[in-house]
Amino acid sequence: MAHSINSGYSAWLKRDLLLAYRRRGEAASSLIFFVMVSTLIPLGLTPESAQLAEIAAGMIWVMALLATLLSVDGLFASDYQDGSLEQLLITPQLLPMPVLGKITAHWLTTGLPLTLASPLLGLMLSLPTAGYLPMLCSLALGTACLSLTGAVGAALTVSLRKGGLLLSLLVIPLYMPVIIFGTATVTYAIDGLNWLPPLAILGALFAASVALCPLAVAGALRITSAN
């Protein structure tokens, strides 16, 4: 049984990574969005680095959240359209494990690149030096939470034609704790405080999401894909 659980996870992880590799443009678009929107901030607010430094942490987090939100919409969409989602639902494996595999692949193709690109944005928005490491850590954990929570919304809206907008309505309220503790980690570090406690809470949120979200996604997929 343990073997089949793991194989469900790794098979779907590999499959989705391969698909993402073949559609590289699609995978890159959320990263490009992340970088592009950051250009709007100096244009819309101010190019002065002192003022940018104050808001940089929050802005990077908001943009990362929006970029994840835009990409999570497609998590189950193509599988639903080509019927492989139904194949997934009738596999003998426990459904949460393949689901977790898909979410891991989503994080590896969106959350992780966003995290790795964030120092560049930090540079452009003149983030204080003390903020870089906490930003990397908090984004890595936080975007994983965002992918997991977003997957619940994606599963609930997969069979709807205009699911994308609805998905953001459903998911944004659930994202609030992540953005609170994510930005707090960075601002704590900039203010010279111990930034590990908010990061630890982010870790707790991640642990809870890993345990609970795949179950909710599996339940939601069984309902929505039947229609």
Binding site: L166, L169, L174, N227
Partner: protein, 249 residues
């Protein structure tokens, strides 16, 4: 045998017919409690030493906030009952609870804003409780939007129930994190010192109003559920008979 009442609840018809008998009485009690609470709170209770008469909005604001939060749990529990025991009626209760709860959340926010102007000099501040209420409103709107998005009643019910349950798990986390966020950013100009314990003459009408709001909520929920029953069961014989009695005979 003792579970018979529970299984009866699964029948929309039984609920409709029973509530027809009880609803007028319940509505009468709710109206009586609300009116007496309002008169007591707005006219008889003493004015606040610092805020004068403007504090009296508390008699709407606090009960509405109570019910806004309780309503979400009622909705989520109804959804869970539907998922677990596959009860049609509880999905109808869940669907009805969403707009009522959203309206109460909105009333709580609105009265809070109106109250905030004379007290703090501004309609809106990003206070922890206000922000949590706003997020609660978003959660309600999400459940409502999801329900309306599906054509199939079955899918709408189950998807709404899952979302409501996910929200239930999140509400304590959201409340705690917003609380924590607020202590981090608490502005110096506005201080929310904990209110001194209310005088009993002010508190008793508030208690009456809270009970009145609970009763009003029950009446509103039952009314809404009844119309939902009629809408969903419109093709059954008993609803047709109810609407056009002579057509049957």
């Amino acid at each position: 045998m003792s579970w018979q009442w529970f299984h009866r609840l699964g029948s929309p018809r039984w609920f409709y017919q029973t509530s027809t008998r009880w609803l007028p009485l319940l509505a009468l009690i709710a109206a009586a409690v609300l009116i007496s609470g309002l008169v007591w709170g707005l006219a008889i209770a003493p004015a606040d030493a610092k805020q004068g008469n403007s504090f009296r909005i508390i008699y709407i604001h606090v009960p509405a906030s109570f019910l806004a939060l309780a309503g979400y749990y009622i909705m989520a529990i109804a959804g869970a009952v539907g998922l677990i025991w596959k009860m049609k009626l509880s999905y109808m209760v869940m669907k009805s609870a969403a707009p009522i709860g959203a309206a109460l959340t909105f009333i709580a926010l609105l009265t809070g804003a109106i109250w905030g102007k004379p007290t703090w000099g501004t309609y809106w501040v990003w206070d922890a409780r206000i922000t949590s209420m706003l997020i609660l409103l978003f959660l309600y709107l999400g459940v409502m939007a999801l329900q309306y998005a599906y054509h199939s009643i079955d899918a709408a019910s189950k998807a709404g129930a899952i979302l409501a349950l996910v929200g239930t798990v999140n509400i304590p986390i959201i409340y705690k994190s917003v609380d924590w966020w607020y202590t981090l950013h608490q502005p110096a100009t506005i201080k929310f010192t904990s209110a001194p314990s209310m005088h009993i003459d002010m508190f008793l009408p508030l208690l009456v109003m809270i009970i009145g709001f609970y009763l009003f909520y029950a009446v509103a929920l039952i009314l809404h559920t009844r119309s939902e029953i009629l809408r969903r069961e419109r093709k059954t014989a008993w609803v047709r008979e109810l609407i056009e009695p002579e057509a049957r005979s």
